[in-house]
């Protein structure tokens, strides 16, 4: 029975050969291929365009942020100071404002990356570090550190550890059925609520002045922060760069259901854990450095996705969008009610709230 069938199969295979041997013309729509030696990378042409535009906007926002304030520094002087020409404004531009702008850009990019990874795993545009407990874990740890009179240097590492522990808890709770999207989000929301309640208790029972410091930390601010924080976040992104390069590719198939993914030779569960773990790591690090800046991680990937018109958030564009958002939010926080400074987190929440409503209304329209 098997012998004749094998013959037939061999005959069938030979008929396919010529078709396979001919050079293919299939191009993935809207994508180009970047070849460097043995490397070949698919690139969405629209992503390149969007990234270029975002980079220009980011540069403009950066210069604007360096120039506005008291004293006002003309854009030309800002550029001259940046080029190292030596101007009377060097102190203001390079030492006072630049660290904060760079931190805003790096932290925003990190939020964008974290949001993209977490949303793709959760298959939910509403998922972000704020929703799945990482932020609250970091917040609780930071609050405890701030109200217990621990040294200031402890706050950052404590927040990092808190965020990671919370994320580990969420992953463990969500992992029972292969980290299915819904379960992951539900576990995150549950952990987030519990941690938030604990944070409030700690804050209310603390001295008023300590409570207020914790409150400001929780909202997230870039005031008084700079190179050190930016370096920590930047180093994290740099170390994770190979993982992120892989993630950019792996995200392509994150929208497939598990059976289909397994059918094409993927291991969807380990893939999700790797992607979510990377996202959580970045989110915990950036939250530990700048506090719980709300909504950047939520909004940046979705806006970038709509600009690129892709079926999932694009990693690089989401990072640039996050950077742009946070630089603008920090600038607005500094200047809008000057001399009163608003923490960047307040501004991003003010933008993020209406955006969420927009998403909800849009979703309802589509489903009806």
């Amino acid at each position: 029975m098997t012998a004749p069938s094998r013959d037939r199969s061999a005959g069938g295979v030979t008929t396919i050969e010529p078709a396979v041997a001919t050079a293919g013309t299939a191009r993935l729509p809207g994508r180009s291929l970047l070849r460097v030696g043995p490397l070949s990378v698919q690139i969405r042409r629209r992503s390149v365009l969007v990234a270029a535009v975002l980079l220009v906007l980011l540069a403009v926002a950066g210069v604007l942020s360096l120039s506005l304030g008291t004293p006002y520094v003309a854009a030309g002087d800002v550029l001259r100071a940046l080029s190292g020409a030596g101007t009377p404004y060097d102190l203001v531009v390079l030492d006072l404002r630049l660290p904060r702008v760079v931190l805003a850009a790096v932290a925003g990019a990190a939020f964008g990356v974290a949001g993209t990874l977490i949303q793709s795993v959760a298959r939910n545009p509403l998922a972000s570090p704020d929703v799945i407990g990482v932020t609250q874990g970091a917040g609780l740890a930071a609050t405890v550190a701030l109200t217990s009179g621990a040294a200031a240097v402890v706050v950052g590492p404590a927040a990092l550890a808190g965020g990671l522990v919370a994320a580990a808890l969420v992953l463990a709770l969500g992992a029972r059925h292969g980290l299915a999207a819904q379960r992951f989000v539900l576990a995150g929301v549950a952990v987030a609520f519990a941690l938030k309640a604990l944070t409030e208790i700690v804050m209310l029972t603390a001295e008023a002045i300590d409570g207020q410091r914790a409150q400001i930390w929780l909202i997230g601010t870039l005031a008084g922060k700079g190179w050190t924080e930016a370096a920590w976040i930047g180093a994290t992104l740099l170390v994770l760069l190979p993982v992120l390069a892989w993630a950019g590719w792996a995200l392509n198939s994150s929208a497939l259901d598990d059976d289909t993914a397994r059918g094409i030779g993927l291991r969807p569960v380990s893939r999700r854990i790797a992607l979510a773990g990377t996202g959580v790591l970045v989110a915990a690090m950036v939250t530990a450095q700048v506090g719980a800046v709300d909504f950047v991680a939520l909004v940046a990937p979705q806006v970038a996705r709509r600009l690129v018109r892709a079926e999932r958030p694009p990693l690089v564009c989401a990072a640039l969008m996050g950077a742009l958002l946070l630089v603008l939010a920090d600038l607005a926080g500094r200047r809008l009610f000057a001399p009163t400074q608003l923490p960047a987190g307040v501004l991003t929440a003010a933008i993020g709230g209406p955006y969420l409503m927009y998403l909800l209304l849009r979703g309802r329209k589509r489903s009806s």
């Binding site: 069938g12 396979v20 070949s40 289909t260 059918g263 094409i264 993927l266």
Partner: protein, 309 residues
């Protein structure tokens, strides 16, 4: 090429397959049929290593499929799950391109071979004209052909499909099954599908596997094994099996379950007031039609092999 040894599989506490030994012939169109919840989808999912067996193994050319790297399996065995999720906004060429995943790495994301395989798959499944369209804007039949194209792009010897015709109208069902038939006959692929429709199974299958309660009741060419007894045993339904007037394959017609089904007069009179309806029927100009109900009922009763079943 695919076989199972003492296969035990199921979900959570429920054991669906309990010690199944099955041999699927290479280069044949195998169709698995059976009543709802008989384990046919479980079998297909286990064969495609989407479900991990509790005991026993699935052998691909003699090697346990669970022990082979999943990427290697994906180059030899493609699977189309029952209702795959269409990623929002993904284009046809993009989705078909995902079928090349087992040949790609993040540092080698596209090759000439990928291009030609995608071209070839789209041409075979007749979706080349739709390449730039978003999949979620296509009709059910087109969408199913796109999914099949994705599995074809995997360039495998075997293709497993879980109810590929569900939710399609009859014309699209035939279209999809014809495509699978062509793959088998012209391309020498091994095709294994779970189907609901017995007559389509009989029409297209080289090898039919009839399952009930997680066990194989009969397996073989449909013309040899598909009988009224088998249908009764597997589905618990009395039926007549006659040769299909088009293909000659066995055609399963459910037995007369209610006498009124064979009596057009009785059925047409049902919605209207009884007396007037039958009166107009009798006095209708075509007298011969008035006589047919009784005649056809007799004819059906005559052809109905009631004695042996």
């Amino acid at each position: 090429m695919l076989s199972t040894r003492d296969l035990v599989a199921g979900y959570d506490e429920r054991t669906v397959l309990d010690g199944l030994d099955l041999e699927l012939p290479a280069d044949a169109f195998t169709v698995i049929v059976g009543p709802n919840a008989c384990g046919k989808s479980t079998l297909l999912r286990t064969l495609a290593r989407l479900l991990v067996p509790r005991r026993g193994s699935v052998l691909l050319d003699g090697k346990a499929i669970q022990e082979l790297p999943t990427r290697e399996v994906a180059r030899r065995l493609a699977v189309l799950p029952q209702s795959p999720l269409v990623p929002e906004g993904v284009t046809v060429a993009d989705l078909v391109g995902r079928g090349r995943q087992p040949y790609q790495r993040w540092w080698r994301q596209w090759s000439e071979e990928d291009s030609s395989a995608v071209d070839h798959a789209m041409a075979l499944a007749d979706v080349a004209g739709l390449a730039d369209r978003p999949v979620d804007t296509l009709s059910g039949g087109q969408r199913q052909r796109v999914w099949i194209a994705m599995t074809l792009a995997q360039d495998t010897e075997a293709l497993l499909l879980d109810e590929p015709t569900t939710f399609l109208d009859l014309a699209h069902q035939v279209e999809v099954l014809d495509l699978l038939h062509r793959l088998r006959v012209e391309r020498g692929r091994t095709v294994v599908a779970v189907l609901h429709d017995l007559n389509q199974a009989a029409r297209y299958a080289d090898h039919l596997v009839a399952m009930r309660s997680g066990a194989v009741v009969a397996a073989g060419p449909p013309r040899e094994i598909l009988t009224a007894e088998l249908v009764r045993e597997v589905f618990g339904l009395d039926c007549v099996v006659v040769p299909c007037p088009v293909t000659g394959a066995p055609l399963v017609v459910p037995a007369l379950t209610s006498p009124t089904l064979a009596d057009p007069a009785a059925r047409s009179s049902a919605p209207t007031p009884a007396g007037t309806a039958s009166g107009t029927d009798a006095s209708s100009p075509t007298g011969s039609t008035g006589a047919t109900p009784a005649g056809s009922e007799n004819a059906l009763a005559g052809s109905y092999p009631s004695e042996g079943h």
